[in-house]
């Protein structure tokens, strides 16, 4: 696999930022390096000392041996104890470093321009960067772990290499050859695996579709009614076999490549034991013989591990590099005006808009004005761009062409924070979050004035309900994070979302298609709640039902071309155009009844 980033600058930046985030870690790694470099040599010199004593000293050998072994035990035990303890604490702190980076990522994503959120290619492109902080083994923490341990590994490896040369440089050469070939095998296999990646991803996606379909309980009803069981099982089985076939090919390649490493393993073994036996035959002491055997085996293991670790750092470093690039990328376009106006007038001036990476214009040369203090209803069929209209007003998307003016100033000249402050919006897909009721309304963890929170709840008719909780405003919502959390009915959740918009006290309020899943009585309540919310403000109410339009000053009927009709309810009914038709269609059964009962 080729890397398309520079390893050294990545490492430098990683080390710099990680140490800035966690000073203590440098100290830990330093001590670890000292201990862990020495420790592997203990096992190497032990046979030399012990057997050496036996070989040389004949008289006092037993006593010397006991003393030597006691001394050895004390030193080795202390070394191993400190090495292992430090190793673990270093790993724990590496996790802390990862989570600090994760916090930065969260901030970045929550504050970048909204257009990226709905841009699938943006996520695809940055997926690796976003996942770089996700687990202990890979990405940021994976690299962190390895580079904390590598200095010690490399130092003791160098020491062992020098030591090995005392026996014979040929052994060292053979080991280097074996390590190089082993790494080549692993790289080649990795490359092959990488070349199969697309094929494998595709096969896995197909398999996962069936996994999802069989495991997702919401498919249960339709599978039973339409008797799709057998068919899905057979397809699923076939997809599993396709995935296995690719995995088999990869395993095969690794197996075939493995023969190269086997050959060098054989060679290394022959050289090593050949030289050792030859030297021992010619007088090398048994203590040295044993020592060198231990040394060479440790060196080989050590070098292979360093090879793997370096390859790991290089591969996973890609994600670290992506992560840093992602953090550096400028993802906010905004202006300099920060003052929030008291009233809001919105003008669409020849606006053309299409979503990033799509081909269809949602608006084309669209002109429209929402006057300050006006209550506007926007109605229209699905796909007419009503929700897009809301997103454009709120500054979540910028027009592709043309301008949007707020109080005569181009929307792009406002800072994002200022722009967002202007709107109290209840989105179609609003969310109640697992925070306290108060936090759900105020949207901040700071303690705010309870009276105004209660006022907002009062206006939507939730005050009594909240007062009934023992915890009052501090009652947790939802059961996801707190099993004592509470949940509201659909209508009450909607009211809570409205209270949030109300509490914000922004100069303009927007409510986007709120009543999809509500029954008739709850729906009426919501309409009334909204009326209270909009007093004295610019207000926009979006719906594909017409029922809500009556308390609005103006109605705009959207179709796929933009605004089709515009005026008061009476004017539009007079006109007998599309609005009239829709009104008739939606209302006709009711109307018929009324005529009959009247």
């Amino acid at each position: 696999m080729t890397t398309n980033y520079k390893v050294i600058p990545m490492l430098k930046r990683f080390i710099k930022e990680a140490t800035a985030a966690n000073r203590g870690q440098v100290k830990r790694i330093f001590f670890y390096t000292v201990f862990a470099t020495i420790y592997p040599f203990m096992a190497v010199i032990l046979p030399k000392i012990a057997i050496g004593i036996i070989e040389v000293e004949k008289e006092e050998a037993a006593r010397t041996l006991v003393y030597a072994m006691s001394a050895y035990f004390v030193v080795a035990a202390l070394l191993t104890f400190f090495t292992k303890t430090l190793n673990q604490t270093i790993q724990a702190e590496n996790m802390r470093i990862r989570l600090i980076f994760l916090g930065r990522l969260c901030n970045k994503i929550q504050t970048m321009d909204y257009q990226y959120v709905e841009d699938a290619t943006f996520y695809e492109k940055n997926l690796k960067a976003m996942n770089a902080c996700n687990d202990n083994e890979h990405g940021m923490e994976g690299v962190g772990r390895k580079i904390s341990l590598l200095p010690a590994e490399i130092l003791s490896c160098v020491g062992m290499m020098v030591y090995t040369c005392f026996l014979s440089p040929f052994v060292l050469l053979a080991i280097i050859l074996h390590v190089a070939v082993t790494m080549w095998v692993s790289k080649n296999t990795h490359d092959f695996q990488y070349s199969k990646k697309e094929e494998l991803t595709k096969a896995e996606r197909k398999r996962d579709y069936y996994k999802g379909t069989t495991n997702d309980f919401t498919f249960g009803k339709d599978i039973r009614i339409f008797d799709l069981r057998e068919r899905i099982l057979i397809n699923y089985r076939n997809e599993i076999e396709s995935v296995t076939e690719i995995n088999r090919k990869i395993a095969n390649r690794e197996f075939v490549n493995g023969f190269a490493a086997l050959l060098t393993l054989f060679l290394t073994n022959v050289v090593m034991y050949g030289i050792l036996i030859y030297k021992a035959y010619n007088g090398l002491s048994i203590s040295s013989f044993t020592m060198y055997t231990t040394l060479i085996i440790s060196l080989m293991t050590n070098m292979l591990r360093i090879g793997e670790d370096l390859a790991f750092v290089r591969n996973e470093g890609q994600y670290v590099d992506d992560f840093f690039k992602f953090l550096d990328e400028k993802l906010i376009e905004e202006g300099e005006i920060t003052e929030v106006p008291e009233k809001v007038e919105i003008v669409f001036d020849h606006v053309t808009f299409r979503y990033p990476n799509t081909e269809k214009d949602i608006f084309k040369d669209f002109c429209f004005t929402i006057h300050a203090g006006e209550r506007l209803a926007v109605v229209g069929v699905n796909g007419a761009g009503k929700s897009t209209f809301v997103k454009l007003i709120c500054g979540l998307f910028a027009p592709t062409k043309g301008h949007i003016y707020i109080n005569g100033i181009d929307i792009s000249r406002y800072s994002k924070k200022c722009l967002y402050s202007m709107f109290g919006t209840v989105f179609q897909d609003f969310n109640i979050l697992a925070f306290t009721i108060e936090e759900n309304v105020t949207c901040t963890a700071e303690k705010e004035d309870e009276t105004s929170v209660y006022e907002a709840l009062e206006s939507v008719g939730l005050r009594e309900k909240v007062l009934n909780f023992e915890q009052g405003l501090n009652q947790m919502m939802l059961k996801v994070v707190d099993e004592n959390g509470t949940d509201f009915s659909g209508g009450e959740r909607q009211k809570l979302a409205i209270a949030r918009a109300l509490y914000k006290n922004a100069p303009m309020v927007i409510m986007d298609e709120p009543t999809a899943a509500l029954d008739a009585l709850a729906e009426t309540e919501i309409y009334e709640g909204f009326s209270k919310l909009v007093e004295g403000k610019t207000a926009l109410y979006v719906s594909h039902r017409l029922a809500s339009t009556k308390f609005c000053d103006k109605i705009a009927l959207f179709d796929n071309e933009g605004v089709k009709e515009y005026g008061t309810h009476e004017e539009l009914m007079e006109k007998k155009g599309l609005y009239y038709d829709m009104f008739v269609v939606q209302g006709k059964y009711y109307q018929t009844q009324e005529e009959q009962t009247a």
């Binding site: 191993t80 069989t214 495991n215 034991y273 997103k391 901040t444």
Partner: protein, 604 residues
């Protein structure tokens, strides 16, 4: 222990070859370890003894071949197991999928089983538990085998070394146990933190809440919560890792003691015969290796046994799920020969599992063949529940549902389901072609009928525009070239699917909720011709839809408050139906358009 046997049996049933191969690999690695201890002894003894060249070469090559051949065998095994272990996991999940589809539907709405399923899949897929389980089990056995071999070697030296080793092993296991208890304790402590963390993290990085995060400046609140939890987790981990590190360090110290002691003890025995028969330097090496390997292996075996317990506990949800009773499979009922002539609810009461209040309470009514019935009620009144009972997704607590005079539970499930078709408010389409989504057959679908239905639900135009027409693959999850449909379009296809099925009764639960008003009205108007002479049950929040039904069933507070025609119901001005109807009608009052309205109402 019982669990371990159950899971081993499960894996064995799925792939006996895999199990045999991993056992073989365990045997090979044990053998290699033992040989690596014995062969150097022979070599060293030869080096300090006769130094016969032929034997030196023989022992040298034995060591080399032991290393190389074992590696070769391991490669052969790895080639097989690499592909097979993923296959094994996939197949276990496949079996789970089969199970889910065979269960009585009521399980699927029970949060307990949803959670159980999640845990089961998580264990297999994310924790890789079944493969881990087999591997750990085999490693543990291989470790034990190695220990036995080492004991046999050390026993030749007499009891002192063995006793020391046993004491050291107990110390090691003690350190190991306290470390692993520490991990378990920490893990238990961070579960709630982790769950919270995951929730807020998903909010911060997911797409769902991003609009509100921006407009309400929620990022401080959310990131604040994430960092709070992260820091709490890290503090827990730091303390735990430090303790665990000390545990591992202590184990290391014990191992060093074993090395030093063995060298001292066996060393003295090579110097003098004071403690027993004098030993050679080769034997010294062999005993030292044995002792050191024993100390290493004992901690491996300990950890593998703990792992094994853990893996087995991961697999418990899977096992529990797989042993749920399958009910829909029973073929012993009466074959239902249709068509549906009558549907009768007789004093039916129903309570959802674990709910305190019954949803339906003593409900009785009757529907005749060909009738179109609308069910009306507030949210949560039990409208969809009633439908699920008819579809045999749940069983009534008491009372019975009779179709053609016989309790529906007495019919053979498959023949019964053949006569019932439905579209649910949470309908799902499959990543098949559009044609297959309507016909639900991969071969032999009636193309003309599919085309006609798509025409009638008003989506034929849109489909003609697609490059592959009705052969277009639906959905991007399976095939990246698949097409995506809007909610309204999907719903139309689901309606066509419900009507394609040759059943004599059709249930439509909120079938038009995602359609715009014009399309919705079109569907309503065609409704009678669409369902033809089938018996139909219709649920909708749009009160207007009930006007064209033969009768309306009003459910209020779990009981039937009315079952009558629209005209009759509208005469009772204090009824729920009247209130619901008028609250929506209110919004559509026309002052000057009544003529047109009247005409419009007679269009069908």
């Amino acid at each position: 222990m019982k669990n371990i046997l159950i899971f081993l049996k499960m894996a064995w049933k799925t792939s006996p070859a895999y199990i045999l191969v991993v056992i073989l690999s365990a045997l090979i690695s044990s053998a290699q370890i033992i040989l690596n201890i014995i062969l150097p002894k022979l070599l060293i003894d030869e080096l300090i003894g006769e130094k016969a060249v032929a034997r030196l070469i023989l022992f040298g090559s034995a060591i080399v071949w032991n290393n190389v051949l074992v590696k070769l065998l391991q490669n052969v095994i790895k080639r097989y197991t690499d592909a097979k272990k993923k296959w094994l996991s996939d197949t276990m999940v496949w079996q789970l999928g089969e199970k889910i589809m065979n269960l009585e539907y009521s399980y699927l709405e029970n949060p307990y089983y949803l959670d159980l399923k999640e845990r089961a899949v998580f264990a297999i897929h994310n924790q890789n538990a079944i493969v881990g389980f087999v591997t750990t089990l085999v490693n543990a056995l291989s470790g034990i085998l190695t220990l036995v071999g080492l004991v046999a070697i050390m026993a030749t030296l007499g009891p002192i070394l063995l006793i020391t080793i046993v004491i050291a092993s107990m110390l090691i296991l003690f350190c190991y146990k306290s470390s692993s208890t520490r991990i378990v304790k920490t893990m238990a402590e961070i579960i709630p933190i982790n769950r919270r963390f995951g929730y807020y993290f998903d909010i911060a990085l997911g797409k769902q809440v991003q609009k509100e995060i921006r407009l309400y400046e929620m990022e401080h609140m959310i990131t604040g919560r994430i960092l709070e939890d992260a820091s709490a987790t890290c503090d827990e981990f730091y303390a735990a890792y430090r303790d665990i590190g000390m545990g591992i360090g202590a184990m290391g110290a014990v191992c060093e003691f074993v090395s030093a002691f063995t060298y001292a003890y066996v060393g003295i025995r090579t110097i003098t015969d004071f403690l027993g028969k004098k030993l050679s330097l080769g034997s010294l090496g062999m005993y030292v290796s044995s002792a050191v390997t024993f100390a290493d292996t004992i901690s491996t075996v300990g950890s593998e046994i703990v792992n094994l317990m853990q893996q087995a506990s991961y697999l418990e949800p899977y096992e529990e799920f797989m042993s749920l009773e399958e009910e829909t499979k029973s073929d012993d009922g009466v074959i239902f020969e249709g068509p549906v002539e009558t549907v009768e609810f007789r004093k039916v009461t129903f309570t959802y599992p674990k709910a305190e209040k019954s949803v339906l309470n003593n409900i009785s009514f009757e529907i005749k063949r060909g009738q179109k019935i609308s069910i009306v009620g507030l949210n949560g009144a039990g409208k969809s529940t009633l439908v699920k009972l008819i579809c045999r997704m749940y069983k009534p607590d008491s009372g019975e549902i009779l179709i053609n005079g016989r309790n529906i539970l007495e019919y053979d499930y498959h023949s019964y389901m053949e006569e019932i078709s439905a579209i649910f408010q949470d309908y799902r389409l499959f990543n098949f072609t559009i044609e297959e989504n309507v016909s639900c057959k991969s071969v032999g679908s009636d193309v003309q009928r599919v085309g006609k239905l798509l025409e009638e639900v008003g989506i034929a135009e849109k489909i003609k525009e697609l490059p592959h027409g009705i052969k277009s693959q639906f959905g991007k999850e399976y095939d990246e070239d698949g097409i995506e449909l809007s909610g309204g379009q999907g719903q139309k296809i689901a309606i066509a699917r419900a009507l394609y099925k040759d059943a004599s009764m059709v249930i439509l639960d909120e079938p038009a909720s995602a359609l715009d008003p014009i399309a919705e009205a079109e569907i309503y108007e065609k409704f009678n011709s669409l369902v033809e002479d089938k018996t139909a049950i219709y649920i909708s929040h749009r009160m207007s839809s009930s006007v064209f039904c033969d009768k309306i069933l009003i459910i209020d507070g779990g009981t039937i408050s009315d079952f009558d025609t629209h005209d009759n119901l509208m005469k009772k001005t204090d009824s729920l139906y009247y209130k619901l109807f008028m609250s929506q009608a209110e919004n559509y009052k026309l002052d000057d358009a009544s003529d047109t309205i009247k005409n419009a109402s007679y269009l069908f």
